[in-house]
Amino acid sequence: MTGPLPRPKRKNPLARTTQPLLPPQTRSRKAHGFTLAAAIGRFMLQCCGECGRYAYPAREACPNCLSSALTFLDAPTGGALLSETRIEVTSDPYFREHMPWRTGMVQLDCGPVVVAHLHGDCGGPGARVAMSLQLDKAGQAVFFAKSVSETPHMEDDPQWRQLSADPKYRRVLISDGRSPMAVALVNALKKAGAAKIFVGVAEQWKPFEERTLLEAMEGVEVVDLDLTSERSVQELAIDIGAKVEILINTADHVRPAHLFDASAANTARDVMDHTVMGLMRLSQAFGPVMRSRGADGATGAVAWVNVLSVHGLSNARQFGVHSVAHAACLSLSQWLRNELRQGGIRVINALTGPLDTEWFQTVPPPKVAPKALADAVVDGLKRGLEDIYIGDVAKDIEARLFDNPKAVEREAGR
């Protein structure tokens, strides 16, 4: 039975911070089919297009019929535990710090036998288990088996916490308190047990409605943070950088502009400064300290969420500048992801369709309510996802891009 995670004590200032280590990360190229599935929370295995059998581990030819038509397809998540062990000795430095480690062999309902990490509450050999694909601290996909039914404090299992980014007892920074998402995110994070939530507000001399609401919330601290100012971002990082375990960047700056308007370049630069350069400044200030705290106890630094527009994936004409900026943010986010992975920090892209807010006033529904976005972000943190598509528009664009990116491009141009 999983014991509840104890509330972390204040850190001993004389104790050295444990440096982050990563689990083994070499994988074959084919095995990244699992990475793709794990990143979006799907359970997929290679399936032979000719004989229909599932195969594992990832390979280049079907062992049943030698067809090379092996594609990753969704698979049933059920399985039965065949055997298990608790490893107490390893030569790997990462696992050495997490011994003992429970693993087992699971016969999947779809056929193959997989080695999997075992949740502490799943029964011994013979037990039915529910499987998922997760990204480990190295960002590589691994199989995880847990019991079919909920158990108390299930999310506090130490092996599971290596694969998730649960906000429980963690301190969070939301970069833009003026964003309509801020209050909803604060509520969702508090519900998920976040220890403290810092909310950044630029140009405090400009009043805004939700300010009093935020200030009245327990566990919330409004802090100066102007993403367009390197100094402001650096100063906040000096103050609270070592106290941020989850950073949620909600920065956006939606301004309509037609490409041929004389002012479009200025608008674009302004938007870029708030979004792309803002993310850059935030990365430079908070990235190093978060990366160094990736193994700082059970509630160490764990995730960085960028809330981005799905239009960054394919330019939407009516939000041209917005699309350009978010495409650049996506690229920067990938860069950041590769840097933060060294510290075991997960970078999550929460790709959303138009939000139900003033700047998307003219866009017809469906739009994403701030609460729906906040719930999806917190759900992604708890499940350890890497790419989250939020709302019907984002999911539609995701599916259509997967199908035919050119069609998305042309249809957006009409």
Binding site: R27, S83, I87, E88, T90, H117, V142
Partner: protein, 391 residues
């Protein structure tokens, strides 16, 4: 398809000059250093120059980046038959089988079969980390338990299914330690009691410390030739009666409970014209006692699932009812990488030559050696066995 052809016998194929380069826990030398020692001992033992070896078969995990042909230049050999057999615990018998056919056909006259590995403080971790693509993709990232973690899963399942206990495994381990105390080359010098075995620290449940082999540096080697060659060199020799190998047998078994021996054992005994009961000793591949137990079953000493009972009914020391791993086996001598697959062969040759010294079993005529190796993903893929006879 035409029916399979009867296998040709190994008539006139003999083994000579068993060589063990004494093991070290860690070595600052490379695998090549250990191979050189082994080749020199082979040449001295045969009373000829190493340049007279016209066949060379090598097994090693740590000889990279070199390949077998590169090693010929390293050691000044000019062979006309070379082989690299990267099959871990099966490589000894696989080398022997190939060398036997080469000398039988006249492709070579004297094949030096050499296995050598070094062991530096980091080489074992590197070996585990890069062992195979399936292992990299699907095993090592799960706790990085290495072979111990993987065989723990096999052992746990075998215990659950057939009722074997840790005491049964312990009995084999303790007997091997008794044997090792008579072998000056064994790295393990202290006696082992069942209590010590049972209460040792956990490595990966159900395995504890004495279930696991100790990686070390070392080399094993022997010569394969025709009887006439051995006679002309005035070398004592033993005969190869039969040998089998099989890879990736029973791929549909969800968990490994048997090895490929089951597919080929009738042929093994048939070719040799002997039965399991005729064996005077058995050298199994003992990376774990559970695998030795599986070999007792799969090589016909008892039925599937009766391995534990078989262990309970026998004693396994040199003077026991079933002399087994008389050198002490890898569990007590040490596992010098790929040389672990040759250890049983050199020990069997010594037993049959009456040259085993302290570990000599009384009055031996026939012995069985088996090999097992390469846990590529979830199971050992390669299995092999050979029956040797006193000349």
């Amino acid at each position: 398809m035409v029916p399979p052809r009867m296998r040709q016998s190994y008539d006139s194929v003999v083994l000579a000059v068993p060589v063990t380069v004494p093991y070290q826990r860690y070595s600052i030398e490379t695998a090549h250093w250990w191979m050189g020692k082994a080749l020199r001992a082979l040449a001295e033992g045969a009373g000829i120059s190493h340049r007279d070896f016209d066949g060379f078969s090598v097994a090693s995990f740590t000889m990279g980046p070199d390949v077998a042909v590169g090693l010929t230049q390293h050691f000044g050999l000019s062979p006309r038959h070379i082989d690299h057999v990267p099959m871990g615990g099966a490589s000894g018998i696989v080398s022997l089988r190939r060398a036997a056919r080469a000398v039988q056909a006249g492709d070579a006259d004297i094949v030096a079969c050499v296995a050598a590995d070094t062991n530096s403080v980091d080489s074992f971790r590197n070996l585990l980390e890069g062992f195979s693509r399936f292992s990299q993709d699907a095993v090592y990232p799960y706790g990085a338990g290495g072979a111990n973690g993987s065989f723990a899963l096999i052992a746990r399942h075998y215990m659950d299914r057939y009722g074997a206990t840790r005491e049964d495994f312990g009995k084999l381990c303790v007997a091997q330690r008794d044997n090792a105390l008579r072998n000056p080359h064994a790295l393990m010098k202290k006696p082992l009691t069942l209590d010590q075995y049972m209460s040792a620290r956990v490595i990966a449940e159900p395995f504890r410390l004495f279930d696991c082999v100790m990686p070390c540096a070392g080399a094993e080697a022997f010569l394969v030739m025709r009887e006439e060659t051995a006679t002309s060199l005035a070398l004592p020799f033993v005969r190869l009666l039969s040998a089998i190998e099989r890879h990736n047998a029973f791929p549909d078994d969800p968990m490994q409970v048997r090895g490929g021996w089951v597919m080929d054992r009738d042929e093994l005994y048939g070719m040799a014209g002997v039965a399991p009961d005729d064996m005077d000793f058995v050298q199994t591949y003992d990376d774990y006692a559970v695998i030795s137990m599986m070999q007792f079953e799969d090589l016909g000493f008892c039925a599937k699932g009766e391995g534990a009972d078989f262990v309970r009914q026998h004693t396994f020391t040199i003077d026991g009812s079933f002399p087994h791993n008389t050198s002490g086996g890898q569990l007590s001598v040490g596992q010098a990488g790929a040389a672990g697959g040759h250890l049983g062969i050199t020990e069997a040759i010594r037993q049959l030559l009456g040259a085993a010294g302290g570990t000599q079993v009384h009055e031996v005529r026939l012995g069985l050696v088996s090999g097992f190796g390469m846990i590529n993903y979830d199971r050992g893929l390669a299995s092999a066995a050979a029956i040797l006879a006193r000349a």
